[in-house]
């Protein structure tokens, strides 16, 4: 071990000594695999929000989060204003969009957010080769992908729930008697949490699956956006043409509508986006099972791919 020192005078004239104590072995705690998993999870949160990265990495995620929050705040503001002008309950009476309609309005923004953010979590690690450094540590491919998936689900859930929470707070505070409003409408809370979880899990998992098959972020984003934008007019037009059961089944492949059917089932309503979809005529259990298939299958494929990943 080398030891050298450098004499230095402090401001008050007293002499101080700076020691180079050389290399120090680490004898602190080693928390193994759990710490490694937690680290991948935390890093995933930071990547999704662009934290610890340059300003450009922050622009898009915060733009989309801001847009979703604005929609929630705007809906609350509109309802409060109408209720203030025309009396309590007017907003609901005239059918102003509320919790059950939020995801119908905001789902496209959530899909695009997922399409842009998910590739950041998986593509650069493989493209830059950083994954090689992960897998030589106390971490398996399964640990890595589960931690990354969990971090992205956390972000997606926040993105899905935050505007609804703002809307709920706005509607409650804007009511003549906030406590009465909350007492009458508290069931909206578990409903929007459930519907938000459905759309967040679905769009987040599919976006990660697409990202798991390319090292190019742009390819993954464009493919994901294309998948959702093309499937809607394609399936809608063809389903109308075919009609009957075949048309209904074809309508099930409208990827944008899959979580919206779950939203409808939870709120017991039909949203604007599913109103004309032939698939909406199916029993709820078929629509919910279809949603689980489209969410769990990508989870399985993603896990299978990363479980076998080697340096």
């Amino acid at each position: 071990m080398t030891t050298s020192n450098q004499q230095a005078k402090s401001q008050n004239g007293a002499e101080g000594t700076v020691f180079d104590i050389g290399y120090q072995h680490y004898d602190g705690p080693r928390e193994g695999r759990n710490r490694a998993r937690l680290s991948v999870y935390k890093e995933g949160l930071k990547i999704s929000l662009g934290l610890g990265r340059g300003p450009r990495a922050k622009v898009l995620p915060w733009l989309f989060i801001g847009a979703l929050v604005l929609i929630g705040a705007g809906m609350a503001f509109a309802a409060i204003t109408i209720n203030r002008i025309a009396g309590d309950g007017t907003a609901e009476a005239v059918g102003l969009p509320s919790h059950s309609d939020f995801y119908g309005i905001a789902s496209i923004i959530m899909f695009i957010f997922a399409a842009i953010s998910a590739p950041e979590l998986l593509c650069p690690d493989r493209r830059d080769g950083v994954i090689n450094l992960y897998l030589v540590r106390p971490l398996t491919g399964t640990d890595y992908i589960v931690a990354r998936w969990a971090s992205f689900m956390t972000i997606m859930l926040v993105v899905a729930w935050l505007p609804q929470i703002i809307l709920m707070i706005g509607l409650t505070m804007g009511a003549a008697v906030p406590a009465d409003y909350l007492k009458d409408n508290w069931l909206d809370i578990p409903k929007f949490l459930g519907a938000g979880a459905a759309i967040a899990t679905y769009s987040g998992t599919i976006a990660l699956l697409v990202s798991g098959f390319t090292t190019r972020r742009a390819y993954a984003s464009v493919f994901m956006v294309g998948l959702f934008t093309v499937s809607t007019p394609f399936t809608f037009g063809l389903a109308q043409e075919l009609g009957g059961t075949a048309g209904k089944w074809l309508s099930m492949f409208n990827l944008s509508n899959i979580p919206m059917h779950v939203n409808d089932a939870i709120f017991g309503t039909t949203s604007g986006v599913t109103m004309h979809a032939p698939a909406a005529e199916f029993d709820t259990w078929i629509l919910v099972s279809w949603f689980f298939l489209w969410t769990l299958l990508p989870v399985g494929v993603l896990w299978t791919k990363y479980r076998r990943l080697s340096v």
Binding site: M1, T2, G22, Y23, Q24, H25, Y26, G28, P29, R30, E31, G32, R33, R35, A36, L38, S39, V40, K42, E43, G52, R53, G54, A57, P124, D125, D128, G129, V130, N132, L133, Y134, L135, V136, R137, P138, L139, T140, S310, V311
Partner: protein, 311 residues
């Protein structure tokens, strides 16, 4: 001396290509070089040791454990891959902190270790710059630092001087020597450059075509020979003629001449020949064998082996 790494009858076969063929060796404290051409099986051996590849047969234990069965042992290993494996948009300090956490260190310890390690590899001043702006030599240092940040018991370096200019290569070899001599960390150093291994390592393992060709102390391969090397300022041709007249076995070499002789009398003949040829002596001494000769000597079994693929 306790064995840090023990490889027994290791074989790895990819369909009809044998990447490693019944290789056995032990590594204890110090710097050990794995020397071999591209495709000799060096990287395959390292990946099996790290538990990233399953061997076809045989075992590779590191720190007494099979890394494929007990991945927590990897928290005491460092690995520097040959190829690019660094993110471009994060700072070296941030990246190293993350790598330390991935190896199981708590965040506060990880941050402190990251700063210390960057100081040891000479990147302390540059630690808050994004890695994407670093030179090739600096990136190699970051790769080395991430292998070192969690204070491993042994570091596996895969071609650490690849892509470096002569000055950068020299700096990297100095760092490697420093890691062992000053930090007390053992090193397995894989390279196809004999000069690097000869100058850095205490012991070598030579692989060719997936087979173990030689292993032992570097000094035993570079021991003194019975050949005397002589350099003169002028009259080299006259000196050769004079020695041949004395029935001394002499051959011309670049810059000087080689004289074969196992007994003391050869020095008497050289003295007399120098006087007779009026050749001013510049240098004389026993020749040391260079490691390069391992690959040049005829008659040894390794020179006849086929070259394998797969490292």
């Amino acid at each position: 001396m306790e064995s840090l790494l023990s490889v027994e009858n290791l074989t790895k076969q990819y369909k009809d290509v044998v990447a490693l063929n019944d290789v056995s060796f032990d590594i204890s404290d110090g710097i050990t070089g794995i020397l071999g051409e591209n495709g000799a099986g060096k990287s395959t051996a390292i990946k099996i040791v790290l538990g990233l590849l399953e061997p076809t047969s045989g075992t590779a234990k590191i720190l007494g454990e099979l890394a494929s069965e007990n991945i927590t042992v990897r928290s005491r290993l460092g690995y520097m891959p040959e190829h690019d494996s660094l993110p471009s948009n994060v700072t070296a300090a941030e990246f190293l902190t993350h790598m330390a956490e991935l190896s199981g260190l708590p965040p506060t310890h990880a941050r402190s270790r990251a700063a210390d390690t960057l100081r040891h590899v000479g990147l302390f001043e540059e630690r808050y710059r994004p890695i994407g702006g670093y030179s090739t030599g600096m990136k190699q240092r970051v790769k080395l630092a991430q292998a070192l940040v969690h204070d491993p018991a042994i570091i596996l370096l895969d071609e650490p001087t690849a892509g470096l200019d002569p000055a950068g290569r020299e700096d990297m070899l100095d760092l490697v020597r420093k890691i062992h001599r000053e930090f007390g960390i053992s090193i397995l150093f894989s390279s196809h450059l004999m000069a690097d291994v000869e100058r850095t390592c205490d012991r070598i393992i030579v692989l060719r075509g997936g087979r173990l060709i030689q292993s032992g102390e570097v000094k035993s391969f570079t021991e003194e020979t019975e050949t005397v090397y002589i350099e003169v300022d002028t009259n080299k041709d006259r000196l050769i003629a004079s020695l041949q007249n004395r029935n001394v076995d002499v051959s011309e070499a670049e810059g000087g001449i080689f004289v074969e002789g196992s007994d003391e009398s050869v020095y008497d003949h050289v003295r007399d020949a120098l006087v007779e040829a009026e050749a001013p002596l510049r240098r004389m001494g026993p020749r040391r064998r260079a490691l390069t000769e391992l690959f040049e000597r005829d008659g040894d079994d390794f020179s006849e082996l086929p070259t394998g693929v797969g490292s």
